[in-house]
Symmetry: C2
């Protein structure tokens, strides 16, 4: 049912666009790009994975018509009292009212000043409640209060996230009107429904799960994400919700989350534009029959962190695989930098360069543009020690094209859907990998030719 | 003659592309974008301006076949001994051998350790001599020595600039073979020939001149620039040469140049990618019958600086007007920032945002994306005091859409070819303006669909 709903919504939206913008639709039909794929060609095979339920977590999703009709667009999660909850959020200075609200909740949890009780997570798609002045806060408080009443907790325990059009008042009443239905539908088995309800123009829902044994006890981590599809006038938004039954105190959970975030969601880019709404909430229900993890550096802490990192990396890469217009999934690994941070900055300079991204779209092994991007990053690099590889093929070394490199080999490599670029900048031992996609005509179409 | 040459070269290149890439040419023919304009729709009216000769400066240009056939591709300037010469260059850490060479010359001029004598400027298009290992320096030294011999000066007085394909050895012999012809053709009247010789895929040559009276003496400033057309696998490169008969010492000239550069060439962006070759050389021949300018802050220094700033701004804006695929010339003015630098950073975050640039291409008054770009800039901004104007139309104020704003007004404004975006971020008195263009299908075509 959820699947059909998703397709219907997409169809309805396409019809609406064609009706309103006939000329543009015609022009698009004549375009040299392929018809917009129903699902990104880079989507993981096998579709949405079966996500095991997490003890202490129940989910629900409804059609509330916040902006879209005929599809799931509001989800609610209920998490038992006694959980530890951590979060990371966009650093945008124009971030939305829901982001500020969630940051306040996490601050109280971290300080230990939070009231006890259940937690809620309420998410809508279709309206981001961003740049909506004082009405933004009112919308958050109204919906959080409604969700709190429905599940029996305090408003200050309910995380709120919104994604969609910005600058328009949140139609909070459409969400509160559905709160009883949402609460009545809560079930541990509804992970995929929830994942679908938070989509905007994502072409597929994104989920991932891992099981890890800690001191002989199986611990499960299941999560889902949305991003970075886009409908004008929206901006790329990313929302991620991860649940686990692990026993772990909030400060340790937050520490592990922040560390893993630096190497996963903070290492992906589609177009270098930062959302006002990016939010990741991680809830550990403390239900597993295990000794609590009290330190990030203990064996148990590391095992949990590794498994969490795998879930986060998988979800982050799925976001890139659904990047607007993407036809290539690109990994950029930088070594030999002054530090990890420097390597990441160089990697992102390459991954965000329009010239590199258009070369990838054109299947052009244009390594000169990679040299350019390294040079503009502002980070130390030795031009005359620079090494560039495409996969295993050494393209450039010692400040010039490799004597063994043949352009045909680079050209053949670029035809792959998955591209690995390795750059060694020759000044230190800092290393980082970032992930991105190419910049295609379809990106321009999505973001310039149409407006919904 | 120069004009015909330029057209022939473009035609020859187009023919070559069509021959080699029939399928892509066909696909492009069916594209929804208009056929590539021979000249950018944003080019200044009236064509290349008549640039007055500068006493003490002679120029020449020839067809050397460095990469292109049948067009001017090498220029030489000869500047009388006794001139003051200043320069600014790309800060790329992978900058080319010619850039390093020019920086060394300027360092000696600034220190006062340079030998006396004439100056030369030798520029080729078609090969950037960038990322060419130790051969890069050899190419520079060979051509500089050849030019020095031809005009009777030392190699260390000859600035060298190269623009074009990177990673290929400079065919220095093609340039030195033409040196006698270049020297024989030197004339004060050949500014436009020189401007055409340094073009790569520029659609028009860029020149500007100003006359300013200083203490009753007319002083002339004439200059020309190339950028930011591009042929794969090149990157956007910008070369600028400005000449004046003003009397001014080198340290003062350099100080004024650097200050003006910060608000002109360092405030433009087409795609946020930084060239390995950007170079600006400014020569003052000290021939005007005036008291020398000894300080940037004197009345004479200010008058000269203002006139120079006008020439630099005009040339910088012409580079944007020739940006790849540009259909909109966009000015982004930021006020209310913590500092001038903060305002410029915010302006560039807006001007480089793919989402803002695609919205401009789609004539979509998508102010939400401007809010996003302000937020990601990392500079202080008060979300709830943010004001955004399109021209005179107030779009957003006090953290939300303006009550008086009508979407139709914004949509009508966006149909203009010249767009003014004003943003006040409400935290201080820092102000800056930057200039950019939109991001269109043609940009993708130029940089992804073709490779020469």
């Amino acid at each position: 049912m959820a699947k059909d709903d998703g397709k219907k919504a997409k169809k309805a939206k396409a019809d609406k666009k064609n009706g309103g913008k006939k000329d543009k639709a015609k022009a698009a039909a004549a375009a040299p790009v392929k018809a917009a794929p129903a699902v990104s060609p880079l989507a993981p095979e096998g579709g949405f994975p079966a996500l095991p339920a997490i003890a202490g977590v129940r989910l629900s999703a409804v059609e509330a018509g916040v902006r879209y009709k005929g599809r799931l667009d509001v989800m609610l999660a209920e998490i038992d009292a006694g959980a530890s909850v951590a979060g990371v959020f966009t650093r945008s200075l124009t971030r939305s009212a829901p982001v500020h609200w969630c940051e306040e909740i996490i601050a109280r949890e971290a300080e230990g000043t939070a009231p006890k009780g259940k937690y809620g997570i309420l998410v809508n798609s279709g309206n981001s409640n961003a740049f909506t002045g004082s009405n933004g806060r009112i919308g958050v408080e109204t919906t959080a209060a409604s969700a709190a009443a429905a599940i029996g907790t305090r408003p200050g325990k309910v995380f709120v996230a919104s994604t969609g059009v910005i600058g328009e008042p949140l139609p909070a009443e459409r969400i509160t009107a559905k709160m009883d239905e949402l609460a009545a539908g809560l079930s541990p088995e509804k992970m995929e429904f929830a994942a679908r309800a938070i989509m905007t123009t994502d072409t597929f829902p994104k989920g991932c799960t891992r099981m890890v044994e800690i001191d002989g006890t199986p611990v499960t981590i299941s999560g889902f994400a949305k991003g970075s599809g886009m409908i004008a006038p929206d901006m790329a938004t990313m929302l991620v919700f991860i649940f686990t039954d692990a026993c772990i105190a909030q400060p340790v959970l937050q520490k592990i989350l922040s560390a893993r975030n630096a190497a996963t969601f903070n290492c992906i880019t589609v177009d270098g534009d930062t959302s006002t709404s990016d939010s990741l909430v991680l809830a550990a229900t403390n239900k597993a029959k295990m000794a609590p993890i009290t330190s990030a550096t203990s064996a148990a802490g590391k095992a949990f962190s590794d498994a969490l990192g795998e879930v986060m990396l998988d979800l982050a890469q799925q976001v890139v695989r659904d990047g607007e217009g993407a036809t290539k999934f690109v990994s950029v690994s930088v070594t030999g930098a002054k530090s990890t941070a420097a390597a990441r900055t160089i990697g992102l300079a390459i991954a965000n360069s329009p010239l590199v991204k258009t070369a990838l779209a054109g299947e052009d092994p244009n390594w000169g543009r990679i040299v350019m991007a390294v040079g503009k990053s502002g980070q130390a690099a030795d031009r005359d020690k620079l090494t560039i590889r495409f996969g295993d093929t050494v393209v450039a070394e010692n400040g010039w094209v490799s004597p063994a490199y043949r352009e045909e080999d680079g050209a053949a490599y670029m035809k792959r859907a998955e591209i690995d670029i390795h750059v060694d900048v020759g000044v230190g031992s800092g290393a980082a990998t970032v992930w991105t996609c190419d910049l295609t005509h379809r990106y321009i179409e999505i973001n310039a030719d149409y407006r919904s």
